[in-house]
Symmetry: C2
Subunit: 323 residues, 2 copies
């Protein structure tokens, strides 16, 4: 049976520290079927892939069977494009070097391409999103961790070993807050991730005497959503949390701009839902730290792709490009 | 009269904050004639170009006349490849936007290509030096200022506006030492440049009670050479100056590595003459700040091109590439 290329589909899988999103995508960038599962609860890669296969098989059947699928594109923290392995990912439950592309290929009997999750998102933005037509931009994902994908001269920067784009682990505050996953102090991810915002909230609550709605919040669930809800009610401490986070994010963005001079920085992920509460201080502190030649030139944009789609789209784009 | 391409020559000009080097180069990368003049003493770009023309004209005659010259390649701080202008260079005497490629073209009646001085050096290393055959590396020049040229996927990263590679202005110590040229606090250049080492020496002398050979040195001429001479005699304070500088440089290199994941970092310039005194702490602190996936992978190399040649070679390489 032959099929027109219009009928061919690709699978996109986005592995995050907390959850994994997957979907079946057509060439026009429509996510036809999608789902989500926990990453966290799988202490071994084998049970993770078993569940992924089980769940995806249902969607593959619904999409017309495995013969319609060209391949699988995967995005994962520390995912290596060249080797197909995830290596020492601090935010994933699996330690060491995981040959995930090989394992997924054996399970699904489909070609598999892997990259860093943020690189996948960058490709998604370039093909379908806010970076359409741009040749130089940086994608930054503000989720459980902080990831980045750098595009320069119209190409994704993989670096010599496939691991470029770990802006989240660059040190912004020397001897600053300890990152539990890496053991390093003062990295961007320690501040501008979901975990980072939570830690800032807990620290400010402890060190300040200011009255705050956050004092009555359940400490277990104190996340950027809770802080946001308080901030829009004018809670000073909550506003301070965003101001502090934006100050550090802005500094890191300034450093990134002075390095690769992108046309825009595309932000994506939970923290961006706070809108101007986080964007305003981020922009201000970015500009403040830029030397003159870079000032008032770089757009900070928020991804307008549906959060559930963007990473899947980006990952699936890898599958189209494979031979 | 026709000439074989073997006979065609190019001019390379490297404009630094203190001095400007120029030379006439053949296709094999031999600097046939070269010279040097002061940048600093020219408060206007016009008198600078007048002197440059006067000095170079002598060499051009010696090389067989202007008809043998294909073009001029120039490297300068904040030099823009796309527009041919130097824009707001904090370490040059000329402020604002200087259309230097146009002015030099009018004076010499030769095609002119401009880029950032460190970009030019990176091209020189890629064609003739330590980065031969590399597709991903970062060139860092440690001179009056700190410049950088980033090569990824075998291409120089210019950024959307032509100004990529200003690693020297990235902030490594938030609210750190003030940079007189930019007004920004805590940039790499404030510490790891010739000026930076001098300031560190003066600060340490003031804040420490330790006996030191540097206390008897002429404060006016206290530079990395003087510090080096004291350090190799075992002077503790001098050693501390290199340790401190290496700590900050190593941190900045770690951040650069986590961004673009180069195969090597090529260091160039006065500070590298201190050898292991600066390289050892730089390597140590780089490794210390890298997350595991990047550790023990990235070479820190010192350029082995003759200092007077490297920048001229790199700049001249631009002239070969022009149409």
């Amino acid at each position: 049976m032959t099929q027109s290329s219009k009928d061919v589909l690709a699978i996109g899988i986005d592995i995050g520290g907390t959850g994994t999103k997957y979907g079946i995508v057509n060439r026009d960038g429509n996510v036809l079927f999608s789902g989500e599962m926990s990453t966290k609860k799988h202490s071994t890669i084998e049970t993770f892939i078993d569940e992924l296969h089980e769940q995806l098989s249902v969607l593959i059947e619904r999409a017309g069977g495995i013969d319609r699928i060209k391949g699988i594109g995967m995005g994962a923290p520390n995912g290596n494009f060249y080797t197909g392995t995830i290596e020492y990912a601090p935010n994933l439950p699996w330690k060491g070097i995981i040959p995930i592309a090989k394992l997924v290929n054996e399970k699904f009997k489909l070609p598999v391409v892997l990259t860093n999750d943020a690189n996948a998102a960058a490709i998604g933005e370039m093909m379908y999103g806010a970076a359409k037509g741009m040749k130089d931009f940086i994608m930054i994902t503000l989720g459980t961790g902080v990831g980045s994908g750098i595009v320069a001269n119209g190409q994704l920067i993989y670096g010599h070993d496939g691991f470029a784009g770990e802006l989240g682990h660059t040190i912004v505050i020397p001897d600053g807050r300890m990152h539990e996953g890496t053991g390093k102090k003062g990295s961007l991810e320690s501040y501008a991730s979901a975990t980072g915002v939570r830690l800032t909230a807990l620290e400010l609550l402890e060190n300040s005497k200011e009255d705050s709605l956050l004092r009555t919040a359940d400490k277990e669930n104190l996340d950027s959503k809770v802080v946001y809800d308080a901030a829009i009610k004018g809670d000073k401490l909550a506003l301070q949390i965003f101001e502090f986070t934006g100050k550090i994010l802005g500094l890191a963005l300034a450093n990134a701009v002075m390095f690769s001079s992108p046309e825009a920085i595309i932000l994506f992920g939970g923290l961006t839902k706070a809108g101007d509460l986080i964007l305003k201080p981020t922009r201000e502190h970015m500009e403040e730290n830029l030397i003159q030649v870079f000032q008032n030139k770089v757009k900070i944009l928020v991804s307008h792709l549906k959060e559930s789609d963007a990473a899947i789209l980006g990952a699936s784009a890898l599958a189209w490009e494979q031979q």
